[in-house]
């Protein structure tokens, strides 16, 4: 298998796959028989399951050489539906000759799996607001940036903290504050050659609103969450590390609360905001809380809510369904988030090599272009640009009117010709981050207070 250096991949697969399947199934049986080898069993089992990669028949090849030595390696990726997308999986499998097993969960569940079942994944594809928790659990190894040729091209947003000198860094867990592994193993912003999570996909979040019900004046501020005009029609994201930030920005804007550091609240500040929230909840202000992306779409589509803390692809999904939803550009600034990849502490040998190849493949921009069509940005914008049409680049990054209909990865029309992206260009949006998704020093206290809010 390793001697097969033929550049003709299709003949390669025909010879390799059946043999591969047989071997791994046998391994699987042996593995399951031995109780102590549970991890081995799981690993081999997944290889057997995914041994006939259905590479999308129509998928175009990206200009990426498939390293022959990776043939047959399986990577188990746990993460969220934000980046674990079928087209990305198919393309990466085709380009790299590896088998990818995507375990798609909502954010908190993925984080929980990462921490509690470290034997079940090789790659953790998630967000920086889980870095403190996952790194703190000791289940990840640093990413060695010297193995990544594209590292030097990475955006200053994460390497330095802001895209240009005029931009705000944003309060809370800005990726740069958790990026570099310091000599003592802690995480900080002093550059080193080892990083906790390799930054890839990111965006700013706000709230969506139904434009036929909600006035655009009301939608200029996060304060809308407390607006009595929309009592009982507000949907919230059930996550203290992110959903709370939206509510805190709104409370500050509405003059209901103040924070010394909104990204790292004190106990008194947490008490104040949570008491306010409980009061509002009992008065019937909030209609529902969502945990998964699909729930957020359904809440708005079924008319249960008209204002909702949500992600931009949810707005995309609703618009392709014909629901008139607009993504707000709040004047107080956005809530930023940054995704990326962490490597399992246990990964070594061929698996580790495959992980680095997979990260390198990501950094080359094909996947970055795909997520751009969902409204996300990519940490090396120039590499994503190579895989986008000029019209797409101008619409998604440039903030210019669409020169033609913009298509989502599934082929649906996201924006018709002439439409302009909410919030403007990449520079405008990314310069205006008020706060990042954050795990505060008082996170545990916040979690129990948040649970009380949910029970109230």
């Amino acid at each position: 298998m390793s001697t097969n250096t033929s550049s003709d991949k299709s003949s390669n697969e025909i010879h390799v796959e059946p043999e591969q399947t047989a071997v791994t199934r046998r391994d699987f049986i042996k593995g399951s028989a031995a109780l102590g080898a549970a991890a081995v069993g799981a690993h081999a089992g997944t290889t057997a399951l995914g041994a006939s990669p259905l590479v999308g028949a129509g998928a175009k090849r990206s200009a990426f050489p498939a390293p022959a030595f990776l043939q047959g390696t399986t990577l188990r990726v746990v993460g969220t539906g934000v980046t674990l997308l079928d087209p990305i999986k198919a393309q990466a499998e085709q380009d790299l000759g590896i088998t990818l097993q995507y375990d798609v969960k909502d954010g908190l569940t993925a984080q929980q799996i990462a921490v509690t079942q470290p034997q079940s994944w090789d790659v953790y594809d998630q967000w920086f607001n889980s870095v403190k928790i996952v790194w703190g659990a000791g289940v990840a190894q640093p990413v060695d940036v010297t193995r990544l040729p594209e590292w030097e091209n990475l955006s200053p947003l994460t390497k330095v903290g802001k895209i240009n000198d005029e931009a705000k860094v944003g309060a809370g867990d800005a990726p740069v504050r958790l990026l570099y592994v310091q000599p003592d193993g802690s995480l900080g912003s002093d550059p080193t050659e080892q990083v906790s999570m390799l930054p890839l996909t990111f965006n700013v979040d706000a709230f969506g609103y139904q434009s036929d019900v909600v006035g655009s004046d009301d939608a200029r501020s996060w304060a809308i969450f407390y607006d009595p005009d929309y009592r009982g029609r507000v949907g919230l994201y059930n996550d203290p590390a992110t959903g709370l930030m939206d509510l805190a920005l709104g409370a500050e804007a509405a003059g209901l609360a103040t924070f010394a550091d909104i990204g790292n609240m004190t106990r008194d500040e947490i008490d104040a905001i949570l008491n306010l929230l409980i009061e509002q909840k009992q008065a019937g202000q909030f209609r529902a809380f969502w945990n998964s992306f699909d729930e957020s779409v359904n809440l708005m589509a079924s008319g249960e809510v008209v204002v909702e803390s949500m992600w931009s692809p949810a707005v995309t999904a609703l618009r392709t369904r014909g629901v008139p939803v607009v993504y707000a550009s709040p004047q107080e600034g956005y809530r930023g988030w940054h995704g990326g990849i962490m490597i399992n502490e246990q990964a070594s040998g061929a698996t580790l090599d495959a992980v680095y190849e997979y990260i390198d493949w990501w950094m080359n921009g094909w996947a970055g272009a795909l997520v751009a069509r969902q409204g996300y940005y990519f940490s090396i914008p120039e590499n994503a640009r190579e895989h986008l049409s000029e019209a797409e680049w101008d619409y998604w990054y440039g903030g210019q009117p669409a020169a033609e209909d913009m298509l989502a990865p599934d082929g649906g029309v996201v924006a018709e010709q002439g439409e302009v992206r909410d919030g403007g260009s990449y520079e405008t949006r990314m310069s205006n981050i008020a706060v990042w998704n954050s795990v505060m020093d008082e996170h545990q206290y916040l979690v129990s207070k948040w649970n009380e809010f949910l029970s109230a």
Binding site: K132, I133, A137, F286, G303
Partner: protein, 307 residues
């Protein structure tokens, strides 16, 4: 165990060969031991050990990414001090009681009809299978199905609006305690119907005939014969529904939409936030309260007498 095995042994042993009787008894005894060893191991592995682990973890000190193995009572103190937890616990018990009572009031008549009104056995079981039909779909699907039914733009609200009964959608139909209770009653009704149905089916029709011949009316038969004889079924049904309702979290989350809570949902939240000791403490309290409820049901239900 030996007393329960001896009738078997006696039945198997021939009186003509008394010498082999003790050997047979021994063989039957070890067969019973083997048969019981499996469920015992099962209970140990999947009930007792997990409960003990939960109990132990509930005394550990929580950290950002898990826990330290340091003894603390803090998790229980936090729960005791939290009005929200006490209120949630009260609400959970109330919901479980309401669900148990209402499923009994509805379920008894379903079982009564199936067991006593429907004449032949084949029709009885045909109808019973039909009653089971919704349970061929997954629990979650049945819970989710309430959303298009009771939502703001759902079937019920649309019907009420179109009929001119209401002038605007009723919000309490979904994402409320009311909605959660309705959904739980629907989800657990069958757990009440089945045991009552089997209890009622076991009643000898001759008893009812004799009662009627002695001049007992419908009400007297119900009170004096049916309810006492169905008691084991009722108590077992009540235990099923009560225990399931106490542990409920999925329905509460889906149908409650975050507007209402249960201890189970609180535990799930703590688990997703990786605060295992707090989750374990809440779980221990929940198990304690649930077991207390079951003990009360069995004691006052005097279930053993009816068997």
């Amino acid at each position: 165990m030996s007393s329960s095995s001896s009738p078997e042994a006696v039945a198997t042993a021939r009186p003509a060969r008394p010498a082999s009787e003790s050997r047979l008894r021994l063989a039957a005894g070890s067969a019973w031991a083997l048969l019981l060893a499996f469920p015992l191991a099962w209970l140990l592995a999947f009930l007792i050990i997990p409960v003990v682990v939960v109990l132990v973890v509930s005394f550990f000190e929580p950290t950002l990414s898990g826990f330290n193995r340091v003894f603390t009572l803090e998790n229980y103190l936090l729960l005791a001090e939290s009005d929200a937890f006490i209120r949630t616990l009260g609400n959970t018990i109330l919901n479980a009681l309401i669900t148990t009572v209402v499923t009994f009031l509805l379920g008894f008549w379903v079982a009564y009809y199936l067991a006593l009104v429907v004449p032949d056995l084949r029709r009885k079981f045909a109808l019973f299978i039909i009653a089971l039909a919704p349970f061929f779909t997954s629990f979650l699907i049945r819970a989710i199905a309430w959303i298009p039914m009771m939502g703001r733009e759902g079937l019920l609200n649309t019907a009420l609006l179109n009929l001119g009964i209401t002038s605007q959608p009723l919000d309490f139909l979904l994402f409320s305690d009311f909605a959660v209770r309705v959904a739980m009653i629907q989800l657990y009704l069958l757990f009440m119907v089945s045991p009552i149905f089997f209890s009622l089916s076991a009643i000898d029709p001759a008893i009812l005939e004799a009662a009627r011949d002695s001049g007992a009316g419908w009400w007297a038969i119900l009170r004096e014969i049916l309810l006492p004889l169905a008691r084991p079924g009722i108590v077992i049904g009540a235990v099923f529904v009560f225990v399931l309702s106490m542990g409920e979290f999925a329905t509460v989350r889906l149908i409650g939409g975050g507007k209402t809570s249960s201890v189970g949902l609180g535990i799930q939240n703590f688990v997703t936030y990786i605060q295992f000791p707090q989750a374990a403490a809440a779980a221990s309290v929940l198990v304690l309260v649930t077991v207390a409820g079951v003990v009360v049901l069995f004691r006052y239900g005097r279930v053993a007498e009816g068997l």
